[in-house]
């Protein structure tokens, strides 16, 4: 019996700007997994995810989303995927509800379903008092929450988030983390980049470490610790050791 396709399958993904940003990267994320992608600044995490989301054209390689070739059938792949960048992208002149209505419309979701879902999402993110206010006066954290709600309103199977917790206060960050874990429990797949290693340590089923555009380590927290030969170190220590080893090898 054939096995289910992975949520994300990346093979030989390459992108060059003035230097290689992503270098023949292979990456597989299983369906229903919470996957954290770590790496130092400029490692190629965002470039990789932007290529997966269809925002950048790769120089070489393939990307498949639940078995759909994202390069030959981008619309099919986009239909089941959501992307949230570290810079909140919302319209100042729309209210959060209107923004979600627009996103749901773009994904062709039945308004009877999306209206209810939009209300629930915004309430769960603590935005209930601001449902009908234009976003122009919102703080970065509030904008980030609206953008996240927009990503979830069409119930995507694969959710890709680039530094989703940047700019959020402790309570908002907890809301977001709770919401993402809830989605994973409901069967969605989450891929997230983060510089907050504690978040990856606590939430991720598997962690990938990327450096100079290549995947240098991957596994559960225990597996990453084992690579360093010690079971008692934190993810931060393991991450720094991996990155330093990679830098020394280069």
């Amino acid at each position: 019996m054939p096995s289910d396709p992975p949520a994300l399958g990346v093979r030989g993904l390459t992108k060059r700007f003035d230097r290689p940003a992503v270098d023949a990267l292979d990456l597989t994320v299983r369906a229903g997994e919470f996957y954290a992608l770590l790496g130092p600044n400029g490692a190629g995490k965002t470039t990789t995810l932007r290529m997966v989301a269809g925002l950048l054209k790769p120089d070489a390689g393939s990307v498949s989303i639940f078995g759909i070739d994202a390069l030959s059938d981008p619309i099919g792949a986009k239909q089941i995927m959501a992307w949230v960048s570290d810079e909140p992208m919302i319209y100042d002149k729309l209210t959060p509800l209107e923004y979600l209505e627009f996103v749901a419309g773009l994904w062709g979701i039945d308004p009877r379903l999306s209206e209810r879902s939009a209300q629930d999402l915004l309430v769960s993110l603590g935005l209930e008092p601001h449902l009908h206010e234009r976003c122009e006066g919102f703080s970065k954290g509030m904008r980030q929450k609206v953008a996240l709600a927009g990503a979830l309103v069409h119930d995507p199977s694969l959710i890709i988030l680039d530094e989703p917790l940047t700019g959020l206060d402790a309570l908002s960050a907890r809301h977001v983390k709770g919401l993402l874990q809830e989605r994973v429990r409901a069967g969605s797949t989450v891929i997230m980049t983060t510089h907050i290693l504690e978040v990856a340590e606590r939430m991720a089923d598997r962690i990938g470490v990327i450096a100079k555009g290549r995947l240098v380590a991957e596994g559960t927290l225990a597996e990453l610790r084992q690579r360093n030969g010690r079971n008692d170190i934190s993810l931060e220590d393991a991450f720094i050791a991996l990155v330093e080893t990679e830098a020394a090898a280069a």
């Binding site: 925002l55 992208m89 209210t95 308004p111 009877r112 206010e133 006066g137």
Partner: protein
């Protein structure tokens, strides 16, 4: 740091910022700056030709002038002053709302009054500098033809530049005090446009109502206006006399302008800081609510169109910048109304004006919808093809133009069905051309950068202007001389084709 050191240091900083901003505005960024500067110099040299055509015949004009000549010259200087005032109002508003360094300045241990004195002076310098630049070809032509006495015109430009900056500062701060920070931004923007265009339009309206012509000179040279004008010794004629080399008038004018600016700096510098604090502390923006509505059913493209229309409707500041071009439709509308009663041939003039306004308006709207996409990543990751997205956005431009132009065309249809048809065709082609140029030269930008859209590509700006003028001329000729329309139409198509050929996105 002493107060004097503060002032000098900050003045240097402001001059450097103004210089770089001007360079970026004129050269469109860092790349190929040398080529852009050479291009500008060539452009300035070429400007001497139209300058010669406009003022060349006046080079031998000497004092004393008759009343009619004094009126025409003073009105022209007043028009230049109004345009400078418009630019200065825009600059002062930008200092209030858009400068990114205000937090840093306000939190620094320097006297804010000093800083804002320098900033008001910098605005005056900027406005005057731009005016000197644009007036140079005209003054050059007059100096070559009439002698060095015409150099006094530069003094007049400086005087009116300083006074325009002074009045703009007082006006904007007064507006802020009267109507508050949120409305001031929009009102100042509208005011800037009305001040710039208002004088010419008012003269045109007066000319239409009195003489049935669009020529403003018909009013200025009329006996009625001459009857109301004061004697030749009046200070109202100082600017005109100063331009012609009257040293006394020039000295008085310069002294008056400097004194005015000094008074404004002394009175308004302390208030500037207070005004800016109130703007940054203004919580009103956060509480604007929208009407509650249920989610609507529709296609993905309908969702896009709905979003574009809502954003256009809800951003009066942006919309006003675009719609200001419609001000120029007021005189032809009036002409249309007058021509119904007397069947005047002036009706013919309406078609090119409408076509040109539509082309210009379409360029602005197309930039807002195509390039000014604030959530570009969201739209790019949505399950729609890029062609579907672009099509939906262009439909918004076409529909908006149709809404604006429809009343004119309907009115025109009652006067002449053929002219209405030609106008519709001209408007459609001009709109599609402008949208196509914006599409070929699109860059990802924030909607708030609309003011600078023309600096991102000089080629696109000129192509858009040439095409609007070309289609306007073609429409007019289609009514008057169809054979000539074929030629101008072909020429405009060639401009469009060349633009496409050199554009970064040949789609």
């Amino acid at each position: 740091m002493s107060s004097a050191t503060d002032l000098t240091w900050f003045a240097r900083h402001e001059i450097r910022l103004a210089w770089r901003e001007w360079l970026a505005m004129t050269t469109g960024g860092q790349r190929r700056r040398k080529r852009a500067v050479i291009g500008l110099v060539i452009f300035a040299a070429i400007l001497h030709l139209p300058a010669y055509a406009v003022v060349g015949r006046f080079a031998n004009l000497t004092l004393p002038l008759d009343k009619s000549a004094l009126i025409v010259m003073s009105s022209t200087i007043f028009l230049a002053w109004a345009l400078m005032l418009s630019q200065a109002v825009e600059s002062v508003t930008r200092v209030f709302y858009a400068r990114a360094d205000l937090d840093l300045i306000m939190s620094s241990p320097v006297r804010l009054t000093n800083i804002f004195s320098v900033r008001i002076a910098a605005i005056a310098l900027q406005v005057t500098g731009m005016a000197l630049l644009f007036s140079t070809p005209f003054v050059d032509v007059l100096v070559i033809g009439g002698g060095p006495r015409w150099l006094a015109a530069f003094g007049v430009v400086i005087a009116i530049g300083l006074s325009a900056a002074a009045v703009a500062t007082a006006l904007t701060v007064a507006l802020f005090r009267l109507i508050g920070p949120r409305r001031t931004r929009l009102v100042a923007q509208v005011l800037a446009a009305i001040i710039g265009a208002g004088f010419v339009i008012a003269l045109q309206i007066a000319a239409i109502l009195s003489y049935g012509t669009l020529s403003r000179f018909a009013v200025l040279t009329s006996d009625t206006v001459a009857g109301f004008a004061p004697d030749a010794g009046s200070m109202l004629w100082w600017p005109a006399r100063a331009v012609l080399g009257d040293g006394e008038a020039l000295s008085l004018l310069l002294a008056f302008s400097l004194a005015l600016l000094g008074v404004v700096v002394a009175i308004f510098s302390p208030r500037f800081a207070d005004t800016i604090i109130r703007i940054s502390a203004n919580p009103a923006m956060a509480s604007r609510t929208a009407k509650v509505r249920t989610f609507q059913r529709g296609s993905r493209q309908q969702a896009l169109r709905w979003k574009e229309f809502v954003l256009l409707r809800r951003d009066p500041w942006l919309l006003s910048q675009s719609l200001m071009q419609l001000l120029y439709l007021v005189p032809p509308a009036l002409m249309l109304w007058r021509s119904f009663s007397d069947g005047s041939a002036g009706l013919m003039l309406i078609t090119p004006v409408i076509v040109m306004a539509a082309g210009q308006l379409a360029g602005g709207l197309a930039w807002l919808t195509i390039s000014g996409e604030d959530a570009a990543d969201l739209v790019a990751t949505a399950p729609l093809s890029p062609a579907q997205v672009i099509r939906a956005k262009i439909e918004v431009v076409l529909l908006s133009i149709a809404l604006v132009v429809a009343p004119f065309v309907i009115a025109l249809a009652f006067a002449s069905a053929l002219q209405a048809v030609v106008t519709v065709l001209g408007v459609t082609i001009a709109t599609i051309s402008a949208a196509a140029i914006q599409l070929w030269f699109r860059v990802q930008a924030k909607r708030s950068q609309f003011r600078r859209r023309q600096t991102s590509s000089r080629v696109a700006t000129f192509a858009e202007a040439f095409c609007s003028i070309g289609w306007a001329a073609t429409s007019a000729l289609a009514l008057a001389m169809p054979i000539a329309a074929v030629i101008t139409g072909a020429m405009t198509l060639m401009v469009l084709a060349t633009t496409w050929k050199i554009s970064p996105r040949q789609e």
